[in-house]
Symmetry: D2
Subunit: 338 residues, 4 copies
């Protein structure tokens, strides 16, 4: 951290900055030969509150020179983290496909989807038992019975079960029935929930919030890892912008950015990004080419009857076609390093 | 709701749409004299999933003609809702001022602030006992001891105590110590938490999420009201945009928009919007003139030592000056009706 | 400017940075006592390309410590600039109101508006003779005949004539007929046009681009001032965000931010920000309270028949009511200083 | 277009809407059997101003059911448009690569780049002779001498010359020296310039504005086509969002969206999107996989000395590596249809 003092800063002001930095356990050094005074602090255990320094008299600017996250940083752990959950694997060069309906509706539905996506090469089964809905009047999910249906369907077809937990009270049941706990975009900064899933031994699929910076996504992952669970799979699902042609704007560059900053795997959710099924295949192929570690795709036996998000769910034959192209492209995927 | 069928839609396709609408309890009517077929459904108890209709064969477009919220809508309740919490009052033409530090740090700090802001005319005392922090390594708040300090300070100076609850587990203590439960921006769509505060009898101050639409804010309020608690105070605190001159972009038009759509009171948080104390007074006066029902402002005895958000906290004398101008302007505030 | 070298930077790399800075006319100084090498350059006449420095081997980060604009900066010219254009005045504590239709449609229309708005206290008459339209098939304006109609109407009622120039070829006629040349939001970075209006002796009303940062707005103004024309009135008209309840999101904080950084006056366009007439009055009062130097408002004798933007144009009686409240509030406007 | 009247709309109000629509040349039809009155107008030659209809008394809502553009629409011209410019070809399944420096600096520089990129398989040479710069103090380009250098370099290496025109006055020279006229992002809605390039017989590469919707990009293209020039290549170069990890947010979904709506080819500019050279290769491969018709990439013999945008320019060896992966992936590109 570098604190730049204003040109006429007094000795008293400079001393105050040094005392403050020392209060954080730093051993600051000063340099005065460059027109203005610079005070530099090497990293300390305690995080230094920049706001506090900025508020001091005589301070002109404060520059942070290190990333605010540690455990998820590639500096801290240079090799890629590879996460296995049942049959599914994320990181290490493969391309894991998770597929399934937006919401678990009944046994027949989840079974039919599991059978189809497993046959096509998916390794994970998605499906919501608890649905975060913008409106209190929309379908809210089946709860634990839904988790049980998902477990059975996943077991029957050799898939990893992936589903969202929306609150701490759901984590216990989720751990019992699932292979991967998903934290949804709306909960990316629900810090108590992050810590709670961080205390389990299940991989966590952490979705980026719709207006979160990538640095904030990595800090949210840091909460989970810091609580004891190193197995976090990041998920880019589109951010909110002014463009309305798609439901969200897929930030495809998130993949090389995250790969540069962190060792954690990152997957793409093309369905929520696009919001329309006709764009899902193209975005999946882009995810593969850009170097993502997988995708999570919505598939439904009859999207026109889906209780939620039918507009973006693939029909079975569309999913088959997508997987066929994924297989073709995957063979020739260049190992993307950044 | 109006469903427009494609020009060549078959009778079978039209029938499927009608059946689907009937499945939601609607009694749809058809009109075919205008080149294409239109199917209209009056509002039903069950919300109609537009996605489902859009997914049907032969459907060209679906238009919603009613707002998706009900209880918070002005259509449902034309008069302004007035909410009283101790000495503070929101709605009905007044301008309630809530002030205090970002975080409760110790008894002296919260008491000093309470004394000062009460003397200047504030009616509510804010201060965080639980702090949602982007980084797991930042100061996380004092918890219940902080709530107790706040209760004592508020009582000593005749103020309403306002503080954030971040999770369901904190609601019990919060109800014991507080007059107003705040739901923070990051939790605006933490639906379980919304329902939980909706089961209490305390007014709720609900902050808009940094990338939430106003319609989504109203739907989040609907969750609380629907759970049994009609006393929701909305709070605009700036949205996330590309502009970096301020911490967030204050959406001042949120006030007339919300006043048109809803009967609930709305206050402005100029401190989080600006991110810099030198803009807080100007934004507060704008809030007053635009017709807001109050503001929530950060004040600290010594912002340079604040444990969080010092850069945007007012010094005592700055708050005094702000209140002096608020009083002057308030006398002449035009009753803004939209 | 401060260049921070990477910890292990070689002497050769450090020398390369120094040579580069010297190439820009700077006399850099070095400090090495703080764990890493810092190279500092005081401001030079030639702007230093940060990208170039960032691209050099061994460089860790480059920090700019000065604003990139000069002539429009308050550092350069501490007192407020006051701009007079006919009867209208911007800066210096007043609140100038410019009003008129989106487009000049015919003599009767522009005359009727001029008469009404002058009677209510407006000092400027707006109206487009050239209309930038997103679609090539929309009404494109009357051109020079429109300018003549505006000149006559403005003269008849003692108003300053304000209208947009969209290209260099229109500047000659505009100078002949107008008192203030408006550069529209879409042309904020049409640098040739900025230079051309900078060579005239007419005040320029420069609208912020819908996705421009305030710093970019000030740099665009710098183009005009640098070309020889110091009379630039800035205009905030809302930025593009994800929110759809209003046409744009009015960035009300632009006023205190610009007042802090620059000596130029700034006005608000509540009509384009809101996009709906029912919000225009509230936003105008906010503009007044926040410290803006004026507003530009759309008024039409019969908005339902307006050839463009009718939805956001005020009826005559609505404008009268707005002006009545402006007068009341203006009396008590606190001199907002930041 | 469908106009929905309010429930209690009077006959007079309904008649007024019909008259208005008839004024646009439409033959509206009415349907009244569905609780509210709907008035429908089939498409007319004259565009119908929705604002005008919305402003009429008794109107509840107006729905547009057709795209506002025509000539660029796939409805109007179902087959892909293929555009050839010298050796370069866009559309029809290939992947055209345009490469070169941000700005033409001197003969040696542009020649060295041309030689290298041609050897690696690029078909177009980019380079700015006129540079739109946010600051009036930054390098502004070489002008016509730069165009001549580019022409010579392009001819010597069999490349198509691609460069930006910033104003109408530059179009004449540009037509003389270039194969493709580029309209930059800041000028996407400089309508006079669009019409001017629309009157030439050179292909136009039209870049999306940093806050433009895809519909607006297509409408800007419509201006060019409507002026007589059907050869428009669209270019997605990232949009402005709150994320700062990259210079802009590449909207990769623009490709399938545009392919669905329009017959025009679309290329990606990964350099301006990323802003950092280390992400350019990954984004180029994503562009290829998603179905784009090409890319435009910045390459410089010595990015550390580039007069602009050095941070995002590739070194020669990085470009060679990129092309090698492009060739590998292109062989197996699935024909992406949407």
């Amino acid at each position: 951290m570098i604190v730049t003092m204003q040109p006429g800063a007094t000795l008293k002001e400079i001393t105050a900055v040094i005392r403050t930095l020392e209060g954080f356990g730093a051993e600051p050094s000063i340099s005065r030969d460059c027109g203005c005074t610079l005070i530099t602090a090497v990293i300390t255990k305690t995080p230094i509150e920049q706001h506090l320094l900025r508020g001091l008299s005589g301070v002109r600017d404060v520059h942070e020179d290190v990333h605010p996250f540690k455990r998820v940083s590639r500096d801290y752990h240079p090799e890629d983290t590879v996460i296995e959950a049942g049959a599914a694997k994320f990181g290490g060069g493969g391309f894991g496909v998770i597929a399934g309906p937006c919401a678990i509706e009944d046994e027949d539905q989840i079974n039919a989807v599991a059978r189809h996506v497993a046959a096509q090469g998916a390794k994970g089964l998605r499906g919501g038992a608890y649905k975060p809905r913008t409106s209190p009047y929309a379908f809210q999910g089946l709860g634990v019975p839904g988790l049980r249906m998902m477990r059975d369907a996943a077991d029957a077809h050799g898939l990893a079960a992936v589903s969202e937990v929306m609150s701490i009270s759901q984590v216990g049941d989720a751990v019992e029935y699932l292979d991967v706990l998903q934290v949804g975009a709306r909960n990316m900064q629900n810090f108590d929930l992050l810590r709670e899933v961080g205390r389990t031994d299940k991989p966590v699929l952490l979705k980026r919030g719709p207006s979160s910076k990538l640095e904030e996504l990595l800090l949210a992952a840091e909460y989970i890892v810091d609580a004891g669970n190193p197995r976090v799979i990041l998920c880019e699902r589109g951010i909110r912008t002014y463009e309305t042609a798609t439901r969200n704007t897929l930030d495809i560059a998130a993949v090389p950015v995250v790969k540069q900053l962190s060792h954690l795997p990152i997957v793409i959710d093309p369905s929520h990004a696009a919001g329309k099924r006709e764009y899902v295949k193209a975005l999946t192929l882009a995810a593969l080419a850009v170097g993502a570690d997988g995708v999570m795709v919505e598939v439904h036996p009859d999207p026109s009857k889906a209780l939620s998000d039918g507009r973006q769910s693939l029909h079975f034959d569309e999913f088959s076609e997508l997987m066929s192209e994924v297989r073709r492209l995957a063979e020739f995927r260049a190992p993307v390093s950044v």
